[in-house]
C-alpha cells in the first residue's frame, strides 16, 4: 500500500446466508488499485470477482453481508473507509468517485427512457450544482449581450438626430451620456418588465421606420402606375378592334370589365397621392428584414430557466457521448436502448459511467457478450479513456487474452481469495501460484493438447479448510490442508498467497 493507491481492499469477507447454507463468497480478499492504471481481476465463475466489485460500491445484494475487512478510498490525502460510512455519504461516492460498467448493457439500460434521459440522470444526481451554475452563467452572458445591443442601437439612433437649438443639443448630450453610463455598468440582473417593454417599443419603432415606409410607398406607387398603363394599353387595343355583331358584343363586355379595373386602380392611386411617403401604412404583421434582431442576438424577452438548464444538460450529454466515440451523438442521445446495437449500448453504458469523471472505474466483464471485432474497439476505447482521463480502472474478466492486451497489473482470484497479484508481464512470464500457472496453461494453443485443471471449482458452502486450491493442486503439502496461506510480497510488487512461497 502506497500513497498512489486509490482504493485498497483489505481482508474483505462477504458471506451469503442462503437456505442451502452459508456461502463464504469472499474469504479475506486483498486488492489495491493505483492511480491511472488498469488492474485486471481474473478468475473463473464463482470466484468472487463480481462480489468484490459490488462490495467496493457497497452494493452487495441480500442475503449477502459484508462481514469484515476494510475498503479504503483515498482522495487527495484523505482516507475514508467506505464500509463504515453512512448510506447517504456512500451515495455521494457511488457514480461520482467510483462508477461501474456492467456486463449486460441491455439489461442495465432502462428500455423506456431515452439515452439522454438516462445519462443525464447520473449528472443530475452528482453534478446538478455545477451544471446549474454553467447554465446560469450562459444565461447571464446572453442577458448582458442583449442589453448592450439594445443600448448600442439607441445610441446609434441618437447619433442620427440633428438637433437645432442649444436646448435640444444639451438634452441629446445628456441622453447619450446616460446611455454610455448604462453601457459601462452592466449587471447580470435579469431584465425587468420595464426593460423588456422598452425593448419592445424599440422594435416597434423600428418596424414603423419612416425610411421603410417611404420605400414601400414608392414600391406601391410604381406598381400602380404600371397597372394603370397596362389597362390603358389594353383599352386602346380593344377600341381599334372591329368585327361582326357577335364579336362586337364580346369586345364590349371586355371593355366594361376593363373600365371597372381602371376605375379601381385610379381610386387607389388617388388615395396614395393624398399621403406623404412617410405616412404609408405598412399593414399588420409587416416585417422589416434585420429589424427584429438586435445585432446578432435576440434580446431575451422571456427566460425559462428550466429550459436553459435542460439545454445545458443536453450539451453535456452530447459531450460525454462524443468522448466514447459514438458517431452522431445528437441523434443517438434521442434514441432508446432497443435501437442501439450491442457495441453501441455498451458505449452508452460506458458514457454513463464516465458522466461524472470517476476516479475509479469498475468494468465488470464489459466485452464478454460482444463480438471480437467490437471487443477490440471497446478495449481500445477503454485504453484511450485511461490515457485521457487519468482515472484508474478495475477490469474484471475471465479472458486472459483481454488481460494481456489491456491491463497493467493482474490479480488472480480463486474461490473467494486473491491468490496472486503482479505486473502483467511478470504474471505471464513468471507466474508463481499453481492456480495461475494452471490457468495460463489452459489457454488453447494450436498443435498442443488441451490442458485442463483437474477437478471442479469448489462449492463455497463449507469450503475447504486451509488453502482452497489444495484439492486441485499438484504441489499440495500437509500444511496446505490446514493452514490458510498469507498474502505476501515475495518479490517487489509481486504478491502471492501460497505455502510454496513462504505464505505460512
Amino acid at each position: 500500500m502506497s500513497q498512489g493507491d486509490i482504493v485498497e481492499v483489505k481482508d474483505l469477507e462477504v458471506k451469503f446466508y442462503t437456505y442451502s447454507g452459508v456461502v463464504e463468497a469472499l474469504d479475506g480478499v486483498n486488492l489495491f488499485v493505483r492511480e491511472g492504471e488498469i488492474l485486471g481481476l481474473v478468475g473463473e465463475t464463482g470466484s468472487g470477482k463480481s462480489v468484490t466489485s459490488l462490495a467496493i460500491m457497497r452494493l452487495v445484494p441480500p442475503p449477502g453481508i459484508i462481514e469484515g475487512g476494510r475498503i479504503i478510498l483515498r482522495d487527495s490525502g484523505k482516507q475514508q473507509d467506505t464500509l463504515t460510512m453512512s448510506e447517504s455519504s456512500i451515495r455521494q461516492i457511488r457514480g461520482k468517485d467510483i462508477a461501474m460498467i456492467f456486463q449486460e448493457p441491455r439489461a442495465y439500460l432502462n428500455p423506456v427512457y431515452s439515452v439522454e434521459n438516462q445519462i443525464s440522470e447520473v449528472m443530475l444526481v452528482h453534478r446538478k450544482e455545477e451544471l446549474y451554475e454553467n447554465s446560469v452563467a450562459s444565461v447571464q452572458m446572453r442577458i448582458i449581450d442583449g442589453r448592450k445591443a439594445v443600448l448600442e442601437k439607441q445610441k446609434a439612433q441618437l447619433d442620427k438626430e440633428k438637433p437645432e437649438g442649444e436646448k435640444e443639443k444639451a438634452e441629446l448630450a445628456k441622453r447619450r451620456e446616460a446611455i454610455e453610463k448604462k453601457l459601462g455598468q452592466q449587471t447580470t440582473k435579469p431584465p425587468s418588465n420595464n426593460e423588456i417593454a422598452s425593448y419592445r417599443r424599440l422594435l416597434r419603432a423600428e418596424r414603423y421606420w419612416p425610411a421603410e415606409r417611404a420605400r414601400q410607398y414608392q414600391k406601391k406607387k410604381a406598381k400602380l402606375e404600371k397597372l394603370r398603363a397596362d389597362v390603358q394599353k389594353q383599352k386602346t387595343a380593344l377600341e381599334q378592334k372591329k368585327g361582326t355583331e357577335g364579336q362586337m358584343a364580346k369586345i364590349n363586355k371586355q371593355k366594361r370589365a376593363l373600365m371597372t379595373w381602371s376605375a379601381h386602380y385610379d381610386r387607389q392611386y388617388a388615395e396614395l397621392m393624398k399621403l406623404e411617403p412617410y405616412q404609408f401604412n405598412l399593414g399588420r404583421g409587416a416585417r422589416i428584414k434585420g429589424a427584429i434582431r438586435v445585432g446578432a442576438i435576440r434580446f431575451p424577452a422571456r427566460f425559462n430557466r428550466k429550459r436553459q438548464f435542460k439545454a445545458e444538460v443536453q450539451k453535456e450529454v452530447v459531450k460525454v457521448l462524443k468522448s466514447v466515440e459514438i458517431p452522431d451523438p445528437e441523434r443517438v442521445s434521442r434514441m432508446y436502448p432497443h435501437e442501439l446495437s450491442g457495441g453501441m449500448a455498451q458505449r452508452v453504458v460506458i458514457a454513463m459511467a464516465l458522466a461524472c469523471n470517476p476516479r475509479l472505474l469498475i468494468a465488470d466483464e464489459p466485452t464478454t457478450n460482444l463480438d471480437v471485432t467490437v471487443q477490440a474497439q471497446i478495449l481500445n476505447l477503454v485504453k484511450t479513456l485511461k490515457k485521457n482521463l487519468g482515472s484508474a480502472i478495475l477490469y474484471i474478466t475471465h479472458d486472459l487474452g483481454v488481460v494481456a492486451q489491456s491491463c497493467d497489473r493482474v490479480s488472480v482470484m480463486y474461490a473467494g481469495n486473491v491468490v496472486e497479484t503482479a505486473d502483467v508481464f511478470e504474471t505471464f512470464s513468471n507466474p508463481l501460484h499453481p492456480y495461475t500457472r494452471a490457468l495460463l496453461e489452459s489457454i488453447p494453443r494450436p498443435g498442443e493438447p488441451f490442458k485442463s485443471i483437474p477437478g471442479i471449482v469448489p462449492s463455497l458452502i463449507n469450503p475447504l479448510k486451509g488453502c482452497r486450491f489444495h484439492d486441485r493442486c499438484s504441489y499440495a503439502q500437509e500444511q496446505c490442508l490446514t493452514m490458510k496461506p498469507k498474502f505476501l510480497e515475495v518479490k517487489p510488487d509481486h504478491y502471492v498467497a501460497c505455502h510454496l512461497y513462504g505464505g505460512s
Binding site: 473463473e44 465463475t45 446495437s341 450491442g342 457495441g343 453501441m344 463480438d371 471480437v372 471485432t373 467490437v374 471487443q375 477490440a376 474497439q377 478495449l379 481500445n380 475471465h398 479472458d399 486472459l400 487474452g401 483481454v402 488481460v403 494481456a404 492486451q405 489491456s406 502483467v424 508481464f425 505471464f428 494452471a438 490457468l439 495460463l440 489452459s442 489457454i443 488453447p444 494453443r445 494450436p446 498443435g447 498442443e448 493438447p449 488441451f450 490442458k451 485442463s452 485443471i453 471442479i456 471449482v457
Partner: protein
C-alpha cells in the same frame, strides 16, 4: 477423403411480417447461398460474428429449419451429386432430377425420411441450462432419442445410456438426478451424451464451450476430440472463439452476413488469411501475451443488418480494399489454390485471376 455433407447454394430467410394484413414485408437473410463440403471424419469449424447466420446454417443442415432454396446432400455418393449437378444444368425440371433429389437431397425430405435422417445427425447446443428439460431425469433425457428413434427400449436402452454416460465421464449416480443438480460442465456432458447415444455420424457443436469456465472448457474439448476418434464422428464446430477453433478444427469456414467469405484448412486460414474480413477478425482476437500488444482495432463500425445487406460484396462498407466492382457485383467463392476458397475481388485480381 469422401465428403459426408455437401451444401449447394443453401438459403434460409426468416420472414418479417408487417402492415395491416401482416403480410411478408421483408426477410432476414440469415443464410444466403452457402456452398461448402464437409469431409468424413473431420472437424469443420464455422466462425463468424453474432448474427452472421452460423446457428441458422447448423439448424438448416439438420433440417430443424426448412431451407428456402438450395440442396443438402448428406452421405450421398460423389457420382450421384455429380449426376444431379449435370441434370440441373441441363434441365432443372426433369423428372429424373426430381426423383434423384427426392432420394438424396435432404432439403426435400419429408416425414419418415427425416426421422431416419435424424438418427445420423445430432446437435449439442450452446447453453445446457436451457437445452436440457428441467423436469426430466438424466436417464430419460439421454434415453429419449433411443425411444423416439425406436433404437432400443427397456433394459437395452438403460445399458446404452449407462455406457455413453460413463464414456463422457459421468458416474452411475447421475442417472436419477435432475439437470439442475449439476454444474455447467457436467450439464454439457449430459447434453453430449444425449447427442451421442444413438451413435450419429455427424454432430453439430453449436458453441458448446461458451457457457463454461476456462478450466472446464479444456476438459470438454479433450472429450470432443477423444469421442471423435472413438466413434469416427464428423463435427461441425460453430463458434465465435477463434482460439478454440484454431485448435480443434481441420478446416475452417468464415461467415459474414449469411455468406461464407473464405474457407480452407485451419493452417491456411490462420496463417495466410486472404479475405480482408478474415484478416480483421483474426487480428481482433486478443492474444494472451502482453509483449504482443495491438494498438489499434482492425475494424470500425458494426455488422450491417441482414434484412438489407449491402449490395455487391457484403463487406465493402467496412473493407479497406473496397473497389468499384465490390459495390456492384457479389464476388464468387473461388479456389485460389490448395483448396483455399475466397470470395473477394481484391484477392482474385492480385492472384492473376
Amino acid at each position: 477423403m469422401t465428403s459426408i455433407l455437401e451444401l449447394r447454394q443453401l438459403k434460409k430467410y426468416y420472414p418479417i411480417y408487417g402492415g395491416v394484413f401482416k403480410r411478408r414485408v421483408a426477410s432476414v437473410r440469415a443464410v444466403d447461398g452457402v456452398s461448402i463440403s464437409v469431409e468424413k471424419g473431420e472437424c469443420f469449424g464455422l466462425v463468424g460474428e453474432s448474427g452472421c447466420g452460423k446457428t441458422t446454417l447448423g439448424k438448416t443442415v439438420l433440417r430443424l429449419l426448412k431451407p428456402d432454396a438450395g440442396s443438402i446432400y448428406f452421405g450421398a455418393p460423389l457420382d450421384v451429386t455429380e449426376q444431379i449437378d449435370r441434370l440441373a444444368k441441363k434441365d432443372p425440371r426433369s423428372p429424373a432430377l426430381r426423383r434423384l433429389r427426392r432420394k438424396y437431397d435432404v432439403a426435400t425430405y419429408l416425414g419418415m425420411d427425416l426421422r431416419r435422417l435424424r438418427r445420423r445427425m445430432q446437435i449439442v447446443y450452446q447453453d445446457p441450462t436451457t437445452s436440457l428439460d428441467p423436469r426430466m431425469l438424466v436417464k430419460d433425457v439421454v434415453a429419449e432419442s433411443l425411444y423416439a428413434q425406436g433404437i432400443a427400449k427397456g433394459e437395452e436402452a438403460r445399458k446404452m445410456v449407462m455406457e455413453i454416460l460413463e464414456r463422457v465421464g459421468m458416474s452411475e449416480r447421475a442417472l436419477f438426478r435432475f439437470p439442475h443438480e449439476f454444474s455447467g460442465g457436467q450439464r454439457q456432458r449430459i447434453a453430449i451424451a444425449r447427442a451421442l447415444v444413438s451413435h450419429p455420424e455427424f454432430v453439430i457443436l453449436d458453441e458448446p464451450t461458451s457457457a463454461v469456465d476456462v478450466s472446464v472448457r479444456a476438459q470438454l474439448l479433450n472429450l470432443f476430440q477423444d469421442l471423435q476418434k472413438e466413434f469416427g464422428l464428423t463435427y461441425m464446430f460453430i463458434s465465435h472463439d477463434l482460439g478454440i477453433v484454431e485448435c480443434i478444427s481441420d478446416r475452417v469456414g468464415i461467415m459474414y452476413l449469411g455468406k461464407i467469405v473464405e474457407y480452407s484448412s485451419t493452417e491456411q486460414i490462420f496463417h495466410t488469411p486472404l479475405h480482408p474480413y478474415s484478416q480483421a477478425l483474426i487480428a481482433s482476437v486478443p492474444i494472451p501475451d502482453p509483449t504482443r500488444r495491438k494498438e489499434r482495432a482492425p475494424l470500425t463500425g458494426e455488422v450491417p443488418s441482414p434484412v438489407n445487406p449491402p449490395l455487391g460484396c457484403r463487406f465493402h462498407p467496412r473493407c479497406p480494399l473496397a473497389m468499384d466492382i465490390c459495390k456492384k457485383k457479389e464476388p464468387p467463392l473461388l479456389d485460389s489454390g490448395n483448396g483455399h476458397f475466397v470470395a473477394c475481388y481484391a484477392v482474385s485480381q492480385s492472384s492473376g485471376g
